[in-house]
Amino acid sequence: MTLSRRKSKYEARVATGGPATSAMIASLEAEGYETVAAPFGHALVDIAKSNRKIVGLTADLSKYTDLHVFAEAFPDRFFQMGMAEQSMFSAAAGLAREGFKPFATTYAVFASRRAYDFICMAIAEEALPVKIVCALPGLTTGYGPSHQATEDLAIFRGLPNLTIIDPCDATEIAQATRAIAASPGPVYMRLLRGQVPDVLGPLGYQFQMGKAQFVRRGGDATVVAAGFMTMRALDAAKVLAAEAIEISVLHSPTIKPLDEKTILTAAANANLLVTAENHTIIGGLGEAVAGACMREGVHPRFRQIALPDEFLDAGALPTLHDQYRVSVKAMVEQIRGWLT
């Protein structure tokens, strides 16, 4: 009667103490970066001032996806759909059919898992311009599997017509919001919300849909990264540089369609090609890059930094990032290990 998974696990658990928390809302460790408040919400308000077709919908999570900023600015263009993700995405499809540009928000797990069929048939199959913007992508909460969207990219990559963006920081979120508002088709964008670090702004970066761009150059290894893992890669690069290891960081925020041209050229010239993603090792950026290389006959030494194929633990985010090898420290150790 008793499930083996239950017993084995809870009897082994001994709290380690310390100021840890498995709370839902936790901020990313991003030392040394300025932060910007609610970059998505503010960018959307700005864009909506000159685009009357933009409307916002949420499934009881406006405050947690920064859409409340839009709701306050444009109360008549905001629709609270209650906690009903399937109904929200269907309604977004209906609005889009009638000529509106809906931005629909929830957490990444609830769009990808609960509402998948509704997004697939009502939105993607008809290539309607619904912009699906989702907080808590990958491992950005310590709350446990119910809120950790570790496989959202794998789920959505299988969907034809859908553009997928995994932005790195506040600067890119603002730029990408503008770009997806201007694009004609459906988009899934992963969102960092609340106080979001600004990593790329000081580098003079400009987001281009469908383009991967080098944000650092070095000859010992090339890391292709997306989302906040680009920040981690840049931080790891600084640590490695002190040990005379120089790495390139190729930031590829558009997961689909992937910028294969840039990535394949980088791969062909890399001493070691590493992909780094805030996602399970299955079906995300790493496998997309590997597949492109194999198909095109480019065969670099290849390694993947990604989350394991497991339901992850609940715990404090920094603890989990170390445990699952996506912290700066863990990245440095992995890359150093592969080079020696």
Binding site: T2, A15, A20, T21, S22, Q80, G82, T319
Partner: protein
């Protein structure tokens, strides 16, 4: 089952106190929900439910599914009071490797039947458990504790229809109607009223009670358990967030109630001054 000779008011008071002590550890937590649902949990665990504290997997137990994973703090408090979880683990709440994570998970905690938290799952699972209990000729009940926010999910109503279609008189659904969701008051987010009439129209035996009135709760549980027909039963409990700590009750209530570091002690002190017999 009533364990020892302790009043339900005292049980509810202890549940509130355990929950405050847990939230104090983290300086946060869904304390408004726990305080609001303490009376409902006291009536569940110390009046309605049949269970063995030393054997949470006992086959004859009534199953209690917590659909609302974020209410875990409230259920931990009840399980501590019931002797299923040890009181000395209160200080581990929400810590790395604790058996009491912020969101309830079956793999972590004795007495936690399901991993809730992706809201809108509990009632559907309860339907399957109800079917299974009947097939096994097990006379136990299955309870599903859910929130008013979950009334928005389509899955809730799919399950509600299945429960009455399959004549699950062994299923008792508890709705904590605190008129609160993540973005605001439930009635403004997505109106679900009249909730009792909706369930009735779906073929359920529905009762609506003051969820902070222990007498009303026990009466409703008795009626649900002894009803002579095979309709699934729902008890819609109107509760008050933060109930029992007046200075928090008066605060602007949101999904998260802000509590300053020094206020945990005052909240516990307030309870201690009002300990029921």
């Amino acid at each position: 089952m009533s364990i020892a000779n302790v009043s339900l008011a005292r049980r509810a008071w202890s549940i509130r106190r355990h929950a405050l002590r847990m939230a104090e550890v983290q300086g946060q937590g869904y304390i408004g929900q726990a305080l609001g649902a303490a009376d409902l949990l006291a009536a569940s665990y110390f009046h309605a439910l049949n269970f063995h504290a030393d054997d949470p997997d006992w086959e004859g137990r009534d199953r209690f599914l917590l659909s609302i994973g974020h209410y875990a703090i409230a259920l931990y408090a009840a399980l501590i009071e019931a002797g299923v979880l040890p009181e000395d683990e209160i200080g581990t709440y929400g810590m790395d490797d604790s058996r009491m994570p912020m969101s309830g998970m079956a793999a972590y905690t004795p007495g936690m039947e399901i991993t809730g938290g992706s809201l809108g799952h509990g009632l559907g699972i309860a339907v399957g458990v109800g079917l299974a209990l009947r097939a096994k000729k097990n006379p136990a009940f299955v309870y599903n504790m859910m929130s008013d926010g979950e009334l928005g999910e389509g899955s809730t109503w799919e399950a509600a229809m299945a429960a009455s279609h399959h004549c699950l008189g062994n299923l008792i659904c508890l709705v904590d109607f605190n008129n609160q969701q993540a973005d605001g008051h439930s009635k403004d987010m997505m109106s679900s009223e009249p909730v009792d009439q909706k369930f009735e129209a779906f073929g359920w035996y529905a009762q609506r009670v003051d969820g902070n009135d222990i007498k009303a709760l026990t009466k409703a549980f008795d009626a649900a358990k002894t009803l002579k027909d095979d309709r699934p039963r729902v008890i819609i409990c109107d509760t008050k967030m933060c109930k029992g700590v007046p200075f928090l009750e008066e605060r602007e209530i949101t999904h998260f109630v802000r509590v300053a570091p020094e206020e945990w002690a005052s909240a516990i002190a307030h309870l201690d001054g009002e300990a029921p017999a």
